[in-house]
Subunit: 389 residues, 2 copies
């Protein structure tokens, strides 16, 4: 087992109707609040009205229009400017993972005097951030229970993961009913995102039975419950369980003591959505079985066998290579069964820039290092991308 | 799924040699430290010498001799007195669950002007506690990652569970090598304790697949790894995995969204060890299969079937009642196989006071309430105790 330090200070406040506690939680932080949200779906759903009603008595400044794959040069910089101008005391993010991710970068940038991009790329250490509270409306990224965010800079095709202990939300409100009205495609993409967060930890060089078992439980739960909600979008228990797994999936608690994998599929996918602005979870679903097939060898076989038996219910008496290959085929078939387009060309990505993307990934993501479970050269990355077309 | 709030502020610092970070962690809190420990096993093991070496530069006051089932009238009150007299800034507990539990009660009592017992029984709310840091030397109670402690008052045969958000340790140092020299009986009792913490959550009225799967993974891991360490006490990975499950088992994270069970086996066992000062984990192991057999009925059957299939590897094609009964028999056989005496008479408890104990439990533990998974009357409790003789 690997040595580790683990500390999640975030308070999870979970369940239908919990939002009524918002004034109490924010009241303990400060009166001047930056309310951040996206393209207006929270206005249609009535959540915006409910939140502003609860925020009576607070001085609220709004930043709306935060994009999927949130952008540095527009949303982050504008948020930082507002925080400084209005002397904001807390950032309240209402929306999905993109809104929350953007808000984390804003919260850090607000307390920094230089160029916030330097914090995001780790050129300068993050010394502080404004307190972040969120009302998360989509089960996917797990940003509500992790210290990270992913920020895109379109000008340079960069999509950078930024992690720091100061970026844990103080409190995350999770009401599964907010996901009842999500289009099926978004529900499926969110589940694929959460599943991939588990895959990125599960495939590692120093597993232990406890962590493996927790992750297998998470994968089985996501696969079972997404089928339920695609048929019955208002099934509370299934929505709640998907959300619970998603919240824990990116936090590290499910893989305590295991070795890091270097998160290779995220390294690859970040380039896809930086170049083409596709939905993160869908990009990950497309990459996943191709990455699995590419790294399957004698060294990695044991992991795929365990995954096949414990998650995909494949007969353990079959030959080991058969189990592993079946597990990968079942992963592909599962994503397809929940309606995810499984080829890059289905999401508008053709061959034209894959050589450029493979080069960009190899140069920027460090996927050939020894910290990566199955190190990938530029040629490996190109093969995975080609096989994903 | 049940609504819940979850927040564990404790930092876990895990692995061989992590204790070198102690001065850094304590240094951020204060110079005047109360060092608490038990009967001197940390002196034999060399841990005491190592800790005092690391504490050079701190002003250390010592409280030694903390008993198993820590006592209010001696240890807690003496610790509180020392904290006030020496103006202590942090409590550093070095030892097992009893030392840490006692230190939590001391930390709260130190910042309270009245009788600390009133905090312990909840007569007065806990408003603050000194920061608690621990170096935990036994995998069992999970006190290193929970907000609770259990304190005994011998004069009144009381053994009271005291939980409060202020009692989470600031940081817990967990070095699995400290458990290499534990006698097998203590290792087994610790594992039984951790297993029981999971049982107390697993048997509940609103389960979900994810939480169930995490708990099943914990139980399987404990059962597998305790067999390894009883044969090979210095097996690092097995010791580390037992410790990891123990740390999470009492914290609530493994049963998020599930309904509380009222912890009936703990309610019963607390009287046993209050009256007879037996080892908590052994008392729990003795009670467990008798409690299971007593509450098995048509309503609870489903839980036992799932437990039997997913933890005890019983053939799911067998009749459901057969699976349930076999699961209970296997639980008994497992505890016996790791060397735990499975009758109360083996630990010095005869029939003479069981009527009195059943009455005490019924009057003090509230096990007949609707919050209890399978409510127990005084007659039920007496039957479980009789069947345990």
């Amino acid at each position: 087992m690997q040595n580790f330090e683990y500390n999640t200070p975030t308070k999870l406040i979970y369940g239908e109707g919990v939002i009524t506690k918002l004034p109490e939680v924010l009241g303990g932080i400060g009166k001047r609040v930056l309310l951040t949200y996206g393209g207006g779906s929270i206005k249609k759903s009535g959540l915006y009205a409910r939140v502003t009603e609860l925020l009576k008595g607070f001085e609220v400044t709004e930043l709306s229009g935060i994009e999927p794959n949130p952008k540095y040069s527009t949303s982050v910089l504008e948020g930082v400017r507002l925080c400084k101008e209005k002397n904001i005391q807390a950032v309240l993010a209402v929306g999905g993972g993109s809104v929350l991710d953007c808000s984390k970068a804003i919260a850090a940038g607000a307390l920094y005097d230089g160029e916030p991009w330097d914090l995001i790329i780790g050129k300068v250490p993050t010394e502080a951030a404004l307190p972040i509270v969120d009302i998360i409306t989509m089960a996917a990224t797990g940003s509500e229970y992790d210290p990270g965010c992913v920020i895109s800079r379109t000008e340079t095709n960069d999509k950078v993961g930024y992690m720091d202990q100061h970026l844990y939300p103080v409190a995350s409100f999770v009401d599964p009913t907010y996901t009842f009205t999500l289009p099926n495609r978004q529900t499926a993409a969110g589940v694929a995102d959460a599943m991939n967060h588990i895959f990125e930890q599960y495939f590692n060089a120093d597993p232990n039975d406890f962590a493996d078992g927790m992750m297998e439980a998470g994968l089985r739960s996501l696969m079972k419950n997404v089928k339920i909600v695609l048929e019955a979008p208002g099934n509370y228990d299934a929505r709640a369980e998907i959300f619970l797994v998603s919240s824990l999936a990116c936090n590290g608690i499910l893989s305590l003591g295991e070795k890091g994998s270097g998160w290779p599929m995220h390294g690859i996918e970040h380039a896809l959505s930086a170049y083409y602005d596709i939905t993160h979870g869908i990009g990950l679903a497309i990459i996943t079985p191709r990455w699995m097939a590419h790294i399957l060898n004698e060294q990695t076989l044991g992991r795929f066998v365990r995954y096949g038996v414990n998650v995909m219910d494949i007969d353990p008496k079959l030959p080991r290579h058969t189990i592993a290959k079946q597990a990968i085929a079942d992963t592909y078939a599962f994503f397809e069964s929940i309606g995810i387009p499984m080829h890059l060309k289905d999401v508008g990505i053709d061959e034209s820039r894959i050589i450029e993307m493979a080069k960009h990934i190899a140069e920027n993501e460090g996927l050939d290092g020894r910290h990566v479970y199955a190190p990938l050269t530029e040629a490996d990355i190109l093969t995975i991308l080609r096989n994903s077309l």
